[in-house]
Symmetry: C2
Subunit: 144 residues, 2 copies
């Protein structure tokens, strides 16, 4: 399960786009590298602040949006109140969302069987399909 380009590659990509690579952005790159927990922006902010106390939440949002514009992450709204950053843009996948603890897990499945019948597709162009499985992970099922 591939995750994300390394900090060096992202640095190059940003520079190529005329975007500057600041210590703040590198810190965020490093946090996302190898992170499959679908963190919220706030949690990225908290972790970044641990090593860089002056970084602002706005900066994290901005960097995440830049990464999204470059196609290096996906920003998901799973209806949990805050958006989540998904560094896995390579593999098509759905999401398993635990409605208790909020953890999100990837479900590496193609869209086989998820076709829009022709008569409904006729006057609609599908660009993207988002599938969210809501339920409970075993950890949360146990204690209820």
């Amino acid at each position: 399960m591939s995750v994300m380009k390394d900090t060096g590659s992202l640095t190059t990509i940003f520079r190529e786009q005329g975007l500057r690579v600041t210590p703040q952005r590198q810190a965020i790159f490093r946090l996302l590298e190898g992170d499959d927990s679908h963190p919220t922006v706030e949690s990225l902010f908290d972790r970044a602040r641990a090593h860089m106390p002056t970084i602002s939440l706005k900066t994290v949002y901005q960097t995440v949006h830049d990464l999204e514009a470059l196609g290096e992450v996906r920003v998901l709204d799973l209806g949990t109140g805050s958006v989540r950053v998904d560094p896995n843009v390579e593999d098509d996948h759905h999401h398993l969302l635990c409605t208790v603890c909020g953890r999100v897990r990837d479900l590496p499945v193609g869209f086989a069987g998820l076709h829009v019948p022709i008569r409904y597709r006729r006057d609609f162009t599908v660009d993207d399909v988002q599938v969210i499985f809501r339920g409970r992970c075993d950890h949360c099922s146990d204690r209820t």
Copy 2:
């Protein structure tokens, strides 16, 4: 495509649950009856206010939540910024969301093919599947 119970039935159901049926609630019942536009709470509020100028937004939210608790509507978060009320709780269906005009249309399809493979289902209990097809309706495709 069935939609929603009529105002009279909802009145009975509410009373049975110990909930009171006020003119405000009846007005909202009437608005939802035969509405397949997946309105936002705000738009329900605007329409209700046309005939009942003193009704408050909070009341609309409360009534919608009560209806949801009774299983008479579904409250959807499609990532459009505000939640939408779906009066169609009878038929399993997906949603076609136009990312330009925001209109939502039902897609009456079963979940055939939308299975979670066993090895991923092993430690997760799926309660609900939400499928959102994002794209453009023809009306919005034309003018771009």
